[in-house]
Every structure is written in C-alpha cells, then in structure tokens.
C-alpha cells in the first residue's frame, strides 16, 4: 500500500533530517516572525488608534470571500485567473505541508487512496501554479500594461516562487524516477518529468544524489522566501488579508470619517505619518501594486499627477523610510519630509474627484478617498488651494451656495411655474424636495428643474421646497476638506429642516442625496427616508401610480453618477424608468459600479482646470458615441448635465449625441 514516507532518500549521515530540516525552517520562521513584528509594530505604534475589531463574524466572512476566494480579484478575467492560480496553488501547497507534518508526527493517515489523492491534488496544483506563473510573466514582461510597474522587486518574488515550486517538482520527480512505483500515474505531471530524468540514463544512485541536492535546494529556497518575505512584494500575502479583515464596517461608503481630534478635543490635521491611523498606514503596506485602482481612476486617465496606486506606494515608502525616526522622536521636531506637501504633493490631492472607483476596485479594500480627504483637510486649514476653490468656499460660507448669489434668489426658477410650489417651511408636505445648488442657480439647468417640478405636480405629489432656507448640503464641501464649513452648512440646513413637517426628503442631486442620507445627524431625519427622485418614481412605477402616455422610442445609454451608483447602489431604478419611457437602453462598457466619473465631484467643479490630456467628461462622451445607434446620453445628476453638455461641444459630437437628464425623458413621456 502506498504511504507517505518522511524524508525519503535523505541520508542520516549528519543526524536525523528532521533536526536540520526543522532547524533551518524554524530559524527562518523566527526571522520571519521577528521581521513581521518589526513591520507591524511600525504602523501599529506610529498610527493613531482606530477601532476595527467589532463584528468579527462579518470580518471573517469578508476574509473568506475576498482574501481566500478572492472574488474581487476574479472580477477581472486575465489577472484574476492568473492570481487565483498562483494563490490557490500556494494555499494547497501550504495545506500539503501541514498535512504532511500531521502525518509524520501525529496521525499517520497519508496512506492508500488518501495518499494517492493527496499526491494527485498537489501534482495538479503544481501545474496550475505554473500556468499562473507563465501568465504572470507574460503579463508583466510582454504585455506590460501601464498599471504594472516594472521593477526588480516583482521579478525577485516571481522568480523565487517559481524556483520553490519547480524545486519541489524536481524533488518529487527524481524520487519517482528512482522508485518507479506502480501508482506513479497518480502524480501524472511529476511522473512525466520523472521520465525525463530516466531518459538521461542516469543510475539510481546518481538520481538519488540529484534528489538530495534538489531537496536541499528546495529547503533553502523555501527558507529564503520566509526570511525575505517582509521586505519583498510577497508581504501582501500577510497584509492583504489583514487589510481585508480590518476593512471599514462602521459606516457606509458614502460616509467619510469625521475630522480626527486631539486628546484635548481640538481638530487634528494630518501633517505627518503619525496623524494617520494604524489602519491608514496598513493600507499602504497592503497595497499589492496591482494597479487596478489606477486603471479605474479618471484623474489618472486625464493625465493629472494622481495615481491612487502611487499614492499608496508613496505613503509606504515614507513609512518605511521615516517611520523609525518618527517613533524615536516622539512628538519632537521631525527632520523627515512632510507627509502633506512633500511625500504627497498638493496637486495630487487636489486632482481627486472622490469618485470612489479606486475603492471599489481595490482587491484588498484600501480606502484611498478617506485618507486623501484627511490630507486635504490639512491643505484647507493652511489655505493651500487655488483661487477658484477659495472663492467657491468663501461663497458657500457667505451665501450658502457656490455661485456667490444671494440666497434670496435661490428659488427664482420657481417663479415662472404655473402652479406655485409649497413652502415646506410654512406648510406640512409629504415630500420635501432638496433642490441643490446647481439645479437652483445654474441658468442652463433652470429648464430641467422646472420640468422636475412639473412632473412632480403632474403626479400629484404633495411636495414643497425650502426656498431661501436651503443651503448647499455640503457633500463636496466636506470632500474638499473644509470640515468646519461643512458643519456650518449642516447646522443651517438642520435648523431649517427641524422646523418643517415632512415624511421623506427627495433630491435631484446625487451629491446632496449622499450626504443627507449618509452623513447628516440622525435626529435631522428621525427615521424618515432620503430618496433620489429616481427611487421615488421607480416605486410609483411599480405601484402603478406612474404611467406613461407616450413611448419615446429613443435608443439611449445611461451614465451612473458616482454618488448615486457606486456610493449608494442605486443602479436599477433609473434603468427601469428609462425602459418604461419606451426607450431602448444600451450599456457602455463601463457601467454600473464601474461607471466612469464625469470629473466634477469632490469639489473639482469648483477648482481651476488642470492641464489634462483628456477631460474625464470627454472620455465618457467618446465612450458613448462608440455605441451603435445611441443618440442620447441619459444622466440623473445636474452636474452631469453641465459637464456632459460641455463635453459634447468640446469633442465636436454635439450633433451626434444629446445629453438629457432622465427627468426630461419622463416629462416628455408623461406630458
């Protein structure tokens, strides 16, 4: 009966092989543990505290789903398959080793059919690994996608793991060549390689000697992996799962962490690595440099200096370079480059649209946006921003809108409506419509805002607006990093809302929607829902309260606004409405949670335009015009209308593509 034999073919000349094999690996493990401890203690001790221990069952579940099964990695086919092949092969090898150890010291069970299956699985995964390794090499060195860095540290890791696995294969196959057992075909791949050894005509003794040499080499290369893991790119096998385990659970994606505070209760601004939390530092250590975030980043695509991947790498480099010095100095003077401004340049921070694509894409759950906003807060505190943003913020502070117009004319668009809109401050309403700045003040959007009101009126909604009582909801003010101003705006809006009687808030602007829904203090809403108008109309469609009289018959495509789709998961409601108006919907390649950003978010719409190769909005228009027959781009955000109507002009596609707010379709199909 076949059975696993420990240390087959290893002579006892220098004592029992267990001793030096375990000795070497034990030593390597000690070095590994010590170095890991050093690495962990760096971010753990340097970073501020943050609670990420709660809800263990969800964390464990995430660990299984994203670190072991790796569903996010798999969401991109080639790199997904490649990584799964490598990672799972290593899981299997790890388990193989563990089982072998159990077998030799505790329960002898690797015999008979169990053993044969054991061998078969290990053998097959060797093949799987090699396929993965070839795919990896082909991708990094031949395909060379832009998102991957070509640096020796990646080659080192790839070569090392290939050497280990090929070494293991060589050991097994030389053994098979000597033993030539009848079950050899249970390890088909190793047996084939064994045929190769046999074909050399070497004597059994010679093969035995080779086996010994290969075995020793395999042992040492495995030890090398252990010893160098903490400084190599393989570290991600530890930090990646850790980061997934500790990922954010306490708040929805659309809610930023509040401004950190010092122990004295003063606002704390991020100026050095010390001011980030241990989790934010861990993020940087966990980055695998896979570049998925960079690929998805509209700011990077536009040619701005921002790459979310490089951001993480920069923080990590600084952590490894300056971390010890900072730890030693306590709170003393730092002779290390400033985190904000030097390690991460101002222009990088200001390039982000906070679209969240990076966060959505990252296989190890890195939270780029939160860290970036934390650093922006420091820039704002120091007044380091361009003059347009400065003016917008000053206007928001003074008038409650970025347009710098009087709040008294906020509802001027409503003056010409046939049926006046209720003043929600004076009468109770069922739906309180929070109109938002762009829809209220931008003269190019007035028509759309009026149509929205007309649709609501036609449907017999009992709704009202806040007139001059409304202020900018503050979503982007917060994301710009002006937390104090955000608080003030929340305070003003909350004060008005607390005096109104309503059952739900409806918004037309996804940005207002996000912050009202996810960030406003609980007591303001008091359990009442915040809905995007598409959600409400979709409900009415389902209940039969909304019926269309015309079929429009357009062929359209739809661009999900970041703060409606990715941030709040509203994907289906607008699509059902589009179909209900009698339009045919053709999706763009980047849609749903991968929808591309228009470039306006995170306060970018208030900032000076950077020198870019291609504006994000223009890239999006080019994506849309590639679709056959599509003449209309449908959006559900007033800023999108502004951005894309501009972009169809600048790309010269004005005659080819119309940009419509969904409410315009609904209005047309209804009235």
């Amino acid at each position: 009966m076949p059975e696993r034999i420990d240390f087959w073919g290893i002579p006892h000349t220098w004592g029992p092989p267990e001793v030096y094999a375990y000795g070497i690996m034990g030593l390597a493990s000690l070095v590994l543990l010590f170095r890991l401890y050093q690495a962990v203690s760096l971010w753990w001790r340097l970073g501020r505290s943050e609670k990420r221990w709660d809800q263990l069952h969800i964390r464990v579940w995430r660990l299984i789903k994203y670190a072991i099964v790796q569903v996010r990695v798999l969401s991109q086919r080639y790199p997904g398959v490649m990584h799964i092949a490598l990672a799972w092969a290593f899981f299997v090898f790890l388990w193989g080793t563990i089982l072998a150890t159990i077998h030799s010291h505790f329960i002898t069970f690797l015999r008979g059919n169990t053993y044969l299956i054991y061998k078969l699985v290990l053998d097959l995964f060797t093949l799987v690994f090699l396929v993965g390794a070839v795919m990896a090499a082909y991708r990094r060195y031949i395909q060379r996608p832009r998102r991957l860095t070509l640096a020796p540290r990646f080659t080192y890791s790839l070569v090392l793991i290939v050497v280990i696995v090929v070494g293991g294969l060589a050991v097994t196959s030389t053994r098979l060549a000597v033993e030539r057992p009848e079950w050899a075909w249970w390890t088909p791949f190793a047996w084939l390689v064994g045929q190769l050894w046999l074909s050399t005509g070497a004597s059994d003794q010679a093969l035995l000697n080779w086996h010994l040499g290969l075995w020793a080499f395999h042992l040492l290369s495995a030890a090398t992996l252990f010893v160098t893991l903490p400084m190599s790119t393989m570290l991600h096998v530890v930090t990646g799962p850790l980061n997934v385990f500790f990922s954010k659970l306490d708040r929805p994606m659309g809610q930023l962490a509040p401004q950190p505070q010092t122990s004295a209760g003063e606002p704390l601004f991020v100026t050095s690595l010390r001011d980030l939390t241990w989790k934010q530092l861990l993020d940087s250590e966990a980055c695998t440099e896979c570049g998925r975030c960079q690929d998805a980043c509209p700011a990077f695509a536009a040619g701005t200096p921002l790459s979310p991947k490089e951001l993480m790498v920069d923080i990590r480099t600084a952590l490894r370079r300056d971390g010890r010095t900072l730890l030693k100095n306590g709170n003393g003077s730092d002779k290390v480059p400033a985190l904000v401004g030097e390690v991460v340049k101002d222009a990088i921070l200001w390039s982000c649209t906070t679209c969240g694509a990076c966060v959505r894409e990252c296989p190890v759950f890195i939270e780029h946006v939160d860290t970036m906003v934390d650093m922006r807060r420091q820039l704002v505190n120091e007044g380091r921003m361009d003059s347009m943003l400065q003016e917008a913020l000053a206007n928001l502070g003074r008038y409650g809108n970025s347009f710098g117009q009087s709040e008294r004319v906020r509802a001027r668009w409503a003056q010409t409506l046939e049926t006046p809109i209720k003043d929600a401050r004076k009468e109770s309403v069922e739906y309180l419509w929070f109109v938002g700045d762009y829809a209220s003040y931008s003269t190019t959007l007035t028509d759309i805002t009026r149509k929205t009101a007309e649709v609501f009126q036609k449907l017999g909604l009992d709704f009202g607006i806040l007139y001059d009582g409304e202020r900018n909801a503050g979503n982007d003010v917060r994301r710009v990093g002006e937390e104090g101003l955000y608080d003030m705006l929340v305070h003003r809006n909350a004060a008005v809302l607390s005096r109104c009687s309503f059952k739900a808030i409806i918004t037309t602007d996804p940005h207002s929607y996000n912050t009202l829904k996810n960030e406003y203090p609980r007591e303001v809403l008091d359990g009442r829902p915040v809905l995007h108008y598409t959600e409400l109309l979709d409900q009415m469609l389902a209940s039969g309260a909304l019926k269309f009289t015309h079929r429009l018959g357009y062929t359209v495509t739809y661009s999900d606004p970041c703060y409606l789709g990715r941030y709040n998961g509203v994907y289906d409601a607008p699509r059902r409405l589009i179909l209900a108006t009698g339009c045919q919907l053709i999706e763009m390649p980047r849609c749903g949670d991968r929808a591309a950003c228009c470039g306006a978010g995170g306060g970018r719409i208030w900032m000076e335009e950077q020198a870019v190769q291609e504006r994000p909005s223009e890239a999006r228009i080019r994506e849309a015009v590639k679709l056959d027959n599509v003449q209309t781009l449908v959006v559900t955000c007033p800023k999108d209308v502004t951005m894309y109507r501009d972009a169809v002009k600048t790309t010269g596609y004005e005659n080819r593509m119309a940009v419509k707010e969904l409410i315009e379709l609904i209005h047309a199909a209804l009235c």
């Binding site: 931008s442 003269t443 335009e609 002009k649």
Partner: protein, 323 residues
C-alpha cells in the same frame, strides 16, 4: 473767491490722460452755469506745450524739476497754494491713482468738502448738483455741490472725452512754484508692464468670440475689428480649447474675470461659466443669431444678425469713423 472751475490736467510720461478731457467737459458745463472760467492746472517739468487740445480757457502751468513725475506730497504742496490763493468754485480731479489721493489730502489740508465717484455735474437754475455713482454703479446719489469751494473726483462715463477737447490751444500762463522741497515720498523708478500677452482683465475694450465664429480662419475677421476699435480679442472656452486663441484670452470661470468698458460678445451664448466673469463690464453688446440666448439677459444692446455678416461691415465703419 471766484466762480472759476479748476481742472487738474493729469498726464503721465508726456501724455495727457483721457480722464483730463472728461474733466474739461464737465468743467465747461459747470463754468457756463457759474459764470466763471475753466482753468487747467498743469504741474510738471517742461510741460508748457503739453496741453494743446484741452478745452479750457487758460492753463496755469507750474514748472519745476521736482514736479517732473507725480509724487503725491510735492504735488499736494503746489496745489494747496494755488487753490487757497484763488478759492475757485470747484476743483476737478480724476478719481484715479493720481487724482484721488490729491483730492483727499487737499480736502483735509484746506478744510474743503470732497465729492467722489462723481459722474455728472448738473446745473439747475444756477445751482450746481453733483451726481455720483456708488456701490459699483448700482446706486446713484445726487445733492447740491458744496459751496463755496468743492473738490470733485470724477469717474468716466458721464461725459465724452470729445467734449473736453478743443482745436484751439489755450493760453498758457507759467506760474513760479513755491519753494519746493522733496518730501517723504520719492519716486525710484518706473517699471514697464510685462511684455508677453495682454492681460485681458485690464483691457478697456474686449472683442470676445465664441463658438459662433465656426472656424479658425474667421478669427482674423474679429482681430481686424478689435484692431480697428483699439481693443483686444478674447474668447469663450470652446474657442480656446480648439487652440484658435491662447488660454491667456479665456474669459470665464476657468479663465479671467474681465471689467472692460465695452465687451462685445460675438457668437457667445452666455453660459453661466462665461457670464459670471463679464458682469463687471460697463457695457455688453451681444451679437448672436439666437434671440433667446442668455447673453441677451446681461447685455445692454444686442442684435441677432449673423456675426460673419456683421463683423466685416462693422470693421469698415469703425475705420471710417476713426478717420
């Protein structure tokens, strides 16, 4: 005490400033009502022949090397003497970087009332009334011009420079300056404006083009027009994006805020990103084929002609008018 109207003739590096003619125009009207003469005060060095075309009854020229360039405290000494000696009905200054500070200082030094931001002076049965613009021109105020002597700082807009010009050189009387001493302010040097592209935020006349221009070749038409009126070409973003004009010429949210006296908007729709930056213009004239374009909400005058039809004709007419 006299009923004369004094006018400070501003000049800079050998050139009479435009505002001086506006002052003369106002002064003539005032003198007609008060029954006095218009007297131009010309301070400088070797400036006797500078005031050839100002419409005044006579010029009092004070010549001294120390007055060669405008230095506030030295000029103030000279003017204080002249004004207190003859106590005219009014002294007109330009509300400029020369006139404004002289007027303020003299007002306190001589205890004379000062009216600023004055656009017009009206004569109602012999009484003089000032009309000033406050709040950036959003509000007008008027009242009796203080007597017996008032200092008035005037802004352009109420009179045309032409009205203050004369073809007859006025008699020039040179007055000896008082014993002058350099004061606590000294001029060190003049620094020329940076060459390079023009700064559209400082230009007085902008001929601005939008997408209505259709293609790069047509820009030339507009350039000719701008040249004819003595203005500069600016643009909306699509035009700059196409590379037809440099970014330095961009008006709007992503470009510059402008405040010219005349903003001629050719084929510009008046999107808010553009419109917000031109609201400080004194007069906007829009040419746009679409009668409902928002630009007409902020323009003072408009026409719905095709700009390609209008511009060449307009250029020709402007050229003729200039001759």
């Amino acid at each position: 005490m006299s009923q004369d109207i004094y006018v400070i003739i501003e000049h800079l590096r050998g050139q009479i400033a435009d505002i001086s003619y506006v002052l003369c125009a106002a002064a003539r009207q005032m003198a007609a009502a008060s029954g006095g003469n218009v007297v131009g005060l010309l301070l400088g060095h070797n400036v006797k022949d500078l005031a050839q075309d100002v419409a005044v009854d006579r010029v009092l020229a004070v010549d001294d090397p120390l007055l060669a360039n405008f230095v506030p405290d030295v000029y103030q000494q000279v003017l204080a003497n002249l004004i207190s000696a003859s106590a005219p009905r009014a002294v007109l200054f330009g509300d400029t970087s020369i006139g404004a500070e002289l007027a303020g200082a003299l007002s306190v030094q001589l205890g004379l009332p000062l009216v600023s931001y004055c656009r017009n002076v009206r004569a109602d049965d012999g009484r003089l009334t000032y009309v000033s613009q406050l709040c950036g021109g959003k509000v007008m105020v008027e009242g009796e011009l203080p007597a017996p002597t008032a200092l008035v700082a005037m802004v352009p807009g109420g009179y045309q420079a032409e009205q203050g010009k004369s073809t007859q050189p006025p008699p020039v009387e040179t007055v000896a300056p008082p014993a002058l001493a350099a004061g606590r302010i000294t001029l060190k040097q003049y620094i020329e404006p940076e060459s390079g592209d023009v700064d559209i935020s400082k230009e007085a006349i902008l001929v601005s083009v939008g997408r209505g221009i259709q293609n790069a070749d047509n820009i030339e038409l507009v350039r000719e027009l701008a040249e004819a009126i003595g203005g500069v070409v600016s643009a909306s973003r699509p035009v700059v994006d196409q590379g037809w004009l440099p970014t330095t010429r961009l008006v709007g949210k992503s470009g510059k805020r402008v405040k010219p006296r005349l903003y001629l908007a050719l084929g510009i729709s008046g999107a808010p990103e553009h419109a917000e930056a031109i609201t400080d213009s004194q007069t906007i004239i829009a040419v746009n084929t679409d009668a409902s374009a928002p630009i007409f909400d902020i323009a003072r005058y408009g026409t719905t002609l095709d700009l390609l039809d209008l511009v060449p004709v307009l250029t020709e007419k402007v050229r003729q008018a200039k001759q």
